[in-house]
């Protein structure tokens, strides 16, 4: 069978023509600045002949008279010149903002953008590098329609990336697949922006389907930088240094407001605590009814952080090889005032060699060595709740050591409250080391037509955790023990991909057929041990388990391992007629060891496109330069769930009998066999360009269903959470993006762009007797039900606040809800079913944490040597559960934000939306209602950069820039940031703004 196929393929290749050849030379330059373009492609149309320009943009090529030369370069419009008598052809290429002839990486191959039938967005390296941040994906925020990035503020933390809504339920299983030089990742925090050549986001299922079971949540393909052949060595330095500051710091109730709340609460102990504080710290001279302490805890735990990056990259290439090597250093301090920082050194090399005319080989290596000191996020939570009537340091607290931090228990409060014990007595170090090694061999079995490629990647990572808790005393018998936790996590993932690609043209018929096979083996191992009573723990040199009390290890040594295997076969056919009628199809047969049932699945996809602008009636239009309609359908699996999730397993436990521990086990009570989630998506797209390609407008509409979604079901009686295939989630939306670029005169160029995305997330099916799935805790209920977004907040609706006794007594609830003991100052809930009683049946859906729309925009200006860029980002329609506030249900004697204190009801007419201080403590008002749920809409100036390029023949090319990252954010939410991954804000690390200066030098 295979022999026959090969034989047939050879038949197509035998013919060749013979004619008179001559040599043409010339220089390729950029029309913008007249500078030479090294590495530009110069090829003879409809032949396999071609070359690339050298470092000075010069080329030389053999050609026959009458043939057409095609000059192309990434980011520029290609030009075609028919060669007649000319011997020298100098070409200047125009920059092309939406380059249609640009080649797009589509997974196991490439396609021209104009031939795409799916929805693939490309982000250039230059855009990514504008953002001073540790994580590449952070830079994508607002740049691409249909991709939601939820920022993370902590140094080295990864943002949450959602492509086209939330298709899967768990944060873990909705992770995007990253393909970095052929290896698969769930997380690319190890990459430096400077390592990257391009990012392609495969948004629709048809495009992603070639990655089958890993691709359900979209795929991001990342190519690292490589060299170009025939290019002189280029050395580039790029770096910046800046400072980060907290923005939108939440205003907390001050001592006066807090004391007022305590006095009005009707709780005697709370009033007494204020008196205790006055006795301990004296009375304020301004207001003698409050203590002379007024601590703003957020202010105390925040600091400014430095962010620095330096990178050097050397690239070049000779006749038969090209290379790129680089080193990058990144350092970021957190804005939490503790040992909280991230440092990373990356070494990288990429090599491509032509072994023979037909055999190519190459390799890429990245070594990343990062050290992260993780923040104690509990400090944010504690700082919110810590009472302002207590100072940071309390010299009277003589029992506290080594530092005399204050302890709220001294005033009578239940907790110690002081966040400084978290920040100053803890050190959480994670050393993350990662090696990505990739090698490939590519053979043209039939020159330019049939190519076999085999590629092996190994991703070896270790995460060493070293958590140190220093011992302390805090008075009132509060003591922290010295403890060290060491954790060694090893990940060894290997991937072997083989593809056979046939590519040929028959007149105007262009055909590419690819068949492939992929094998993956992902293993991880975790070893963890905890010890106490560390001798000499204050010395860093003895912060090791050897110095712990050996007896303290028992029951504190854990090891576990996981290993999963995957095997896939896949194929693709891409056909077009004159780049006018486009057809595309893929098929993938995937096996995964993660599932206990139906380990194999078939995932097909088809796509079709019609480039109307190539039809005769539009061909010569000046107004419409390009018009393409696209439609695609695809199906893919999602195995991003824990291996054999939901199956029946054993847990080791122990019990005590007569003072001695006995080993035993418990077994899962509920279990199920899971099969994978299946994503099905329809995508309809439109790509257009107008007015000499200056204006582009792209639109996509998609309907994406996650079938058999694995949802965590809280089994109501058993109260265990079980993950099982339990429903269908639909995401549908519209993505629009537009760009306009032009120049005014020779010196001034500008580009303006915008994108807008709508997402409607909806549960369309729940396979469950109850018809709904609960999540969140019982007190902060979220529910998924048909017709509503996944995990919508579910609670009562507030219609006002009782202003007086008469109003209370007029309501039926005073009688029917006697437990509420309604008072003026309590919330009035809407009796949704009008049965005269407020109960669980009056709960309604209060919105989702997923935004209904997101939008982004950018403006680029270039004037002579100056450049300026501005980008903005915003979202709307999402809700946030302000759980910092809501936790008042668990502890009532702590502080609150100023908004809650100032706006409280405290007499008739003072508020119709906030309860009284006493009311805040009542379970009636504490029931989850829209009082605790706030709007998450925001608008942000994302990035602002001004640059100046020094172009002098005597000097290397130098560009200086000033960057303001996230200088301004506008929102109403009562928190540091409205960007909350799962919409539940308990202890979110604030998002800093940063201001930096950068330098780029090219030699």
């Amino acid at each position: 069978m295979k022999t026959n196929l090969l034989a047939m393929l050879f038949l197509f290749t035998g013919l060749s023509l013979f004619a008179q050849e001559k040599t043409v030379t010339g220089t390729v330059t950029s029309a913008d600045d007249g500078l030479p373009l090294p590495g530009a492609n110069v090829s003879v149309q409809n032949t396999t002949k071609g070359t690339t320009t050298d470092f000075d943009g010069n080329y030389e090529i053999e050609i026959e008279a009458g043939e057409t030369l095609v000059f192309s370069y990434v980011g520029f419009e290609a030009q075609e010149i028919v060669v007649n008598e000319q011997e020298t052809i100098n070409i200047s290429l125009n920059a092309d903002t939406e380059s249609l002839s640009e080649v797009v990486v589509v997974g196991y191959g490439e396609q021209k953008r104009e031939d795409l039938t799916g929805s693939i967005a490309t982000i250039e390296a230059e855009e990514i590098q504008k953002t001073p941040n540790s994580n590449v994906m952070q830079s994508v925020q607002g740049k691409v329609s249909g991709v939601q990035i939820v920022s993370a503020g902590a140094p080295g933390a990864s943002p949450t990336v959602r492509i086209r809504g939330l298709g899967s339920y768990d944060a873990d299983s909705s992770k995007v697949l990253y393909v970095v030089d052929g290896a698969f990742y769930n997380n690319i925090d190890f990459l430096d922006a400077k390592d990257i050549k391009s990012i392609n986001v495969l948004k629709d299922a048809s495009s992603a389907a070639i990655y089958g079971v890993r691709a359900a949540n979209g795929v991001v393909i990342i190519e690292t930088k490589g060299g170009r052949r025939n290019q002189k060595t280029t050395i580039e330095y790029d770096g910046y240094t800046g400072v980060q500051v907290a923005q939108n710091v939440l205003k907390m109730a001050n001592t006066e407001q807090f004391a007022t709340m305590a006095y009005e609460s009707g709780s005697e102990p709370d009033a007494q605590f204020i008196l205790n504080a006055m006795q301990r710290y004296g009375r304020s001279r301004i207001n003698p009814n409050v203590p002379a302490v007024n601590t703003d805890w957020y202010d105390e735990i925040l600091r400014e952080g430095i962010i620095t990056s330096h990178g050097i990259n050397v690239s070049g290439g000779g006749e038969n090889s090209s290379y790129s090597v680089g080193a990058n250093y990144f350092n970021q301090e957190g804005i939490l005032d503790m040992k909280n920082e991230y440092e990373r050194l990356n070494l990288r090399s990429k090599l491509d060699i032509n072994i023979t005319d037909r055999v190519k080989a190459g390799s890429s290596f990245i070594f990343s060595n990062a050290t992260q000191y993780a923040p104690e996020n509990a400090a944010w939570f504690k700082a919110y709740h810590a009472v302002p009537v207590m100072p940071v340091i309390d010299e009277q607290n003589t029992e506290a050591s080594p530092i005399r931090y204050s302890n709220a228990q001294m005033l009578g409060y239940r907790g110690t409250q002081n966040p400084f014990t978290d920040t100053q007595y803890n050190k959480d170090q994670n050393k993350v080391r990662k090696v990505l090694a990739n090698m490939y061999v590519e053979t043209e079995i039939v020159k330019d037509i049939l190519t076999f490629r085999t590629s092996y990647s190994h991703d070896y990572s270790t995460i060493e955790v070293h958590n140190v808790n220093l011992p302390y005393e805090l008075g009132n018998n509060a003591e922290g023990f010295s403890e060290i936790t060491r954790e060694q996590n090893n990940y060894s993932n290997q991937y072997w991909d083989n593809t056979l690609t046939y590519e040929n043209s028959f007149g105007d018929h262009n055909l590419t057929v690819m068949a492939g096979h992929s094998y993956r083996d992902e293993a991880e191992n975790t070893f963890k041990a905890t010890g106490r009573d560390i001798k000499g723990i204050r010395l860093e040199t003895s912060q090791y388990l050897d110095f712990a009390d050996p007896a303290s290890f028992s029951n504190r040594v854990n090891e576990n391992a996981k290993r999963i295997y995957g095997l896939s076969f896949f194929g693709r056919v891409a056909y077009n007629y004159d780049s006018k009628y486009l057809l595309y199809g893929t098929l993938r047969y995937d096996g995964s060891s993660k599932f206990t049932k139906d380990q194999w699945g078939v995932f097909p996809s088809v796509g079709t496109g019609w480039v109307i602008s190539k039809e005769n009636f539009l061909k010569d239009s000046n107004a419409i330069n390009f018009l393409k309609l696209r439609a695609s359908y695809g199906k893919l699996g999602n195995d991003n769930v824990d291996a054999s999730s939901g199956s029946n397993t054993i847990n080791n436990v122990f019990s005590i009998f007569g003072g001695q521990p006995y080993n035993g086990y418990t077994s899962s009570t509920v279990y199920t066999d899971n099969e994978w989630e299946v994503v099905e998506e329809f995508n309809f797209g439109l790509d257009t360009e107008y007015l000499n390609n200056r204006l582009s407008l792209n639109a996509d509409y998609f309907i994406r269903d996650t079938n058999k979604a694995i949802l965590p079901i809280t089994i109501p009686i058993i109260n265990e959470v079980l993950r099982q295939n339990a429903g269908t989630i639909r995401n549908q939306g519209l993505e629009l993006s537009t760009n306009w670029s032009d120049n005014i005169g020779k010196d001034f160029r500008y580009a303006i762009g915008g994108n807008f995305t709508t997402i409607k997330n909806e549960v369309t099916e729940i396979i469950n007797e109850q018809g709904y799935i609960n999540s969140g805790s019982a007190e902060f209920r979220q529910r998924s039900v048909v017709g509503e977004p996944v995990q919508s907040f579910y609670g009562l609706e507030v219609v006002g606040v009782y202003q007086n006794e008469a109003q209370v007594n007029a309501d039926p609830f005073v009688e029917n809800n006697p437990e509420a003991q309604l008072q003026p100052g309590d919330l009035i809930f809407k009796d949704q079913n009008n049965d005269g009683v407020i109960n669980e049946e009056d709960r309604v859906f209060l919105g989702s944490f997923l935004p209904k729309f997101t939008y982004g925009g950018n403006l680029n200006l270039n004037y002579k040597n100056w450049d300026f860029s501005l980008s903005v980002y915003g979202q709307g329609g999402n809700k946030i559960l302000n759980r910092k506030r809501g936790e008042i249900i668990f502890t009532q004697d702590t502080n609150m934000d100023a908004d809650l204190a100032i706006n409280r009801w405290h007499g008739e007419g003072t508020s119709n939306s906030y309860p009284s201080s006493a009311g805040l403590r009542k379970s009636w008002n504490q029931q989850l209602s829209d009082f605790w749920i706030e709007d998450g809409d925001f608008f942000r100036i994302q990035n602002l950069q001004v640059g100046y390029t020094i172009n002098s023949p005597k000097l290397p090319e130098i560009r200086l820039n000033f960057t303001a990252e996230r200088p301004l954010t506008f929102f109403k939410y009562n928190g540091f940031t409205p960007e909350i991954t799962d919409g539940v804000d308990r202890q979110t690390y604030p998002l800093p703004s940063s201001y930096s200066v950068g330098l780029n030098v090219k030699i």
Binding site: F654, Y662, E819
Partner: protein, 507 residues
């Protein structure tokens, strides 16, 4: 040349298929229930150990919510956990997290115990002879633990569910809600089933698992369930079995009974056991006694933490004890603060015995704190007994669930309510309890004497007092310190969360 590529390709494909498809069924790092060796009877006890882990692992809120409503104990003042204080004053809120938590914790434990029984039944498929008897004994033990959980549920909510499988949905479908009466009868029947298989030992006589369930634990639960049903003959019979076995006796030192020396005493019939190893030597299994403890103290042992003050012996109880001239039982049950003593003085109790003092006999000084005047002494572990390098209040202290004194008093009560007993007279039983407390013997006893004795002896323990009062419809006792009790307040409302999921109604 081409053949070589093709060969290599095919070879590669076949190698990877072979190397992988074998691996598709391996589950590295996971032990599936099916992979256990059920033919190895020596591993069988591990499922039982797991069941005791389920039984002993309880949330801090469970015992305080079960016990807070009696006239022996208050929730402390306002401030933190207001709906819990409301509960103490019979103002119930179905949306309060604690109710749901208590319900959830109990029922998920019940289901976990059912799963343990299923595990044991799987071993039983292969066991023979002694091993089979052992398997049956283990199953009987788990049934006793499960019955105790059902008892708490029915006492707290009245009508509820009985689950005996790990598929409760089918059981709800088939049986619906069971009345409190039905649940108590279920407990009695379960105990009758279990008793023949259980060892004829005192729990602390067991050498395999010291302190684990025995036949007498089952009799005690049977007596309690009968008491709830007001089947006094049933109470007398079941408690009589325990008394006439002669195996049990009261631990002589009432104060130390609730401390480390009294753990697994001859008085204990059911006890949650925790470790005294200290966190420093890997000990991590303890109940968090914080809610029971005083919020402010100066411990004899440095850095032992105080508690939260959520469980305050009532002024009514203290006065009742002072009026009876109680000594050791009052001293054991109550931790006094100066503020509390001041309050007693103001109420006319000026001539107080010496032990009414803010320093315990173990040397811990209880300081004043805002929330409450007193703290529970039965849930207090002297700081000097807290394991080394462990600071949590009361850490490592066992939690006595059923003790012989309760059995004696149940027996006595049954007899005073007309039951016939063959384990001595009611007065004999009551006098045993009194004599340990340093009180004189009574000649004959009435029901009221017994109830007073129960109040004095068992206060603060598991809500025994409250469940006695609602059984006897003695609402006037519960209407104290400004509270008004009525029949409709006997049971907590079903948690809101459960109303939605189960065929329940609070109307």
């Amino acid at each position: 040349m081409k053949k070589t590529y093709k060969f290599l390709l095919l070879l590669g494909l076949s190698i990877s298929i072979i190397s992988c498809s074998d691996e598709f069924d391996t589950r590295t790092g996971q032990l599936n229930t099916n992979d256990l060796d059920y033919t190895d009877a020596s591993e069988m006890s591990q499922a039982l150990v797991g069941a005791y882990n389920v039984f002993s692992k309880i949330g801090w809120e469970e015992p305080i919510l079960l016990g807070v409503r009696g006239d022996d104990v208050n929730a402390g003042g306002l401030g933190d956990q207001q709906p819990y204080s409301d509960t103490d004053r019979y103002i119930y809120s179905q949306s309060y997290w604690m109710y749901n938590s208590l319900w959830n914790a109990h029922y998920s434990d019940i289901i976990d115990l059912n799963t343990a029984i299923i595990q044991l039944e799987r071993y039983r498929e292969y066991t023979e002879g002694e091993d089979d008897e052992r398997a049956q004994q283990y199953i009987a033990e788990v049934k006793v633990l499960r019955a105790w959980l059902h008892l708490n549920i029915a006492r707290t909510w009245g009508d509820a569910f009985i689950y005996q499988t790990n598929n409760p949905f089918e059981e709800v479908e088939a049986n619906g809600v069971s009345s409190k009466e039905e649940i108590m009868q279920f407990i009695v029947n379960q105990m009758d089933e279990a008793i023949p298989f259980l060892p004829n030992l005192r729990p602390n006589e067991r050498t395999d698992f010291p302190g684990a369930v025995t036949r007498y634990t089952a009799y005690a639960l049977k007596a309690i369930a009968n008491l709830e049903m007001e089947n006094y003959q049933g109470v007398a019979d079941a408690s009589g079995e325990i008394i006439s076995s002669g195996k049990f006796s009261l631990y002589p030192d009432f104060y130390q009974l609730f401390k480390t020396p009294g753990e697994l005493s001859d008085e204990s019939l059911l006890e949650m056991q925790y470790d005294e190893l200290g966190a420093d030597v890997g000990g991590t299994f303890y109940y968090q006694y914080d809610p029971f403890g005083p919020q402010n103290w100066s411990p004899a042992r440095e850095n032992a933490s105080s508690g939260w003050g959520f469980y305050e012996p009532s002024m009514k109880y203290i006065k009742f004890m002072l009026d009876r001239n109680e000594t050791t039982r009052l001293e054991t049950s109550v931790l006094f603060t100066d503020r509390g003593i001041q309050e007693l003085n103001e109420e006319g109790y000026t001539d107080l015995p010496d032990f009414v003092n803010n320093t315990t006999q173990s040397g811990d000084v209880i300081n004043d704190f805002e929330r409450a005047l007193f703290s529970s002494g039965k849930h207090y572990l002297p700081s000097v007994q807290v394991p080394e390098d462990q600071n949590v209040y009361g850490a490592g202290k066992n939690f006595i669930v059923i003790r012989y004194a309760e059995v004696l008093l149940m027996y006595a009560e049954a007899l005073t309510r007309g039951a016939a007993g063959n384990a001595g007279s009611a007065a004999d039983a009551v006098n045993q309890v009194r004599s340990r407390a340093g009180l004189s013997n009574l000649g004959t006893v009435t029901s009221k004497d017994v109830m007073d004795e129960k109040f004095a002896e068992l206060a603060m323990e598991w809500g025994i007092r409250y469940y006695d009062m609602i059984r006897l419809n003695n609402y006037s006792e519960l209407s104290y310190d400004g509270r008004t009790f009525s029949a409709d307040l006997e049971y907590l409302p079903y948690p809101q969360e459960q109303l939605a999921a189960l065929p329940l109604s609070n109307d």
